[in-house]
């Protein structure tokens, strides 16, 4: 069984934010919410790298583990989705997620946040596929149409890959082999390098 995954190749990402725009437009994402963001590492320093980040559709999703009303569910192909009718806007998933994926459309007094919104891997949510209700609450259901997330399909440099994890990993492995290694912008060497 395929497991759907995103991977951003930092060597290819040019910080064009095309993925962010594609996501916003395709899913009519609420004002103030970005389901996808481009993060720049070592900004302004020679050798800076950019990566596009959204929900990583974790295999053991911490958002789902902490949700007090269990509004999360995972499809057979590993896409983590949630039901906005069950969400109480408590914000626990926001604190639990290491990628900052869950976001809230409202900022009002007394911490009123509204229903949580996050990347759906363009797979909509509960209810009839591509119904008006689904589109309004969760955005386009491209998966039901036999298409992959628009952010990945829109990426001009093919830095952002989204699809079957095995196929994504194969492509990345081939690229790394061709380049003769991976960048050390993050990873072991960076995290544990000796100061000085």
């Amino acid at each position: 069984m395929a497991r759907m995954k995103f991977l951003c190749d930092a060597e290819r990402c040019i910080e064009c934010n095309g993925c962010v725009v594609a996501c916003k437009n395709e899913n009519e994402v609420p004002w103030g919410v970005n389901r996808r963001r481009v993060v720049v590492l070592d900004d302004g320093v020679p050798g800076e790298k950019s990566i596009s980040v959204a929900c990583m559709h974790c295999t053991d999703a911490p958002c789902a583990a902490v949700c007090p009303v269990d509004c999360f569910y995972t499809t057979d192909d590993g896409i983590v989705l949630h039901d906005k009718d069950l969400c109480i806007g408590c914000g626990y998933c926001f604190y639990a997620c290491p990628f900052g994926a869950p976001q809230y459309p409202q900022k009002e007094a007394f911490g009123v946040r509204g229903k949580m919104d996050k990347c759906t891997f363009c797979a909509g949510g509960p209810g009839e596929n591509n119904s008006d209700e689904e589109y309004t609450k969760y955005g386009r259901n491209r998966i039901a149409e036999g298409k992959l997330p628009l952010c990945a399909e829109f990426c001009a440099t093919k830095a952002l890959l989204g699809g079957d994890g095995d196929m994504v990993a194969d492509i990345y492995r081939q690229r790394v082999l061709k380049r003769g290694g991976r960048p050390q912008t993050w990873g072991w060497e960076t995290a544990y390098k000796k100061a000085g």
Binding site: A2, D70, Y73, L81, D83, G124, K158, G162
Partner: protein, 66 residues
């Protein structure tokens, strides 16, 4: 009597409306780790197998390196 009766009924109705003394019996009882929301057609295992092949083809077509 009629007037008094009508007033009593109106008062009772008004009180119940104003206090909102009605409760839906349709309550979802929480159970840890169990999703009890609406169903999603994407959860249908039968369609997942067919979808997998379609999405793999799509991936090769759109995202694979050329």
């Amino acid at each position: 009597m009629n007037r008094r009766g009508a007033l009593t009924i109106a008062a009772l109705a008004g009180t119940s409306i104003l206090t909102g003394c009605w409760e839906s019996a349709d309550v979802t009882v929480h159970e840890q780790g169990k999703y009890k929301g609406r169903g999603d057609p994407l959860l249908d295992a039968k369609s997942t197998a067919e979808r997998e092949a379609v999405l793999q083809k799509r991936f090769q077509l759109v995202q694979a390196d050329r």
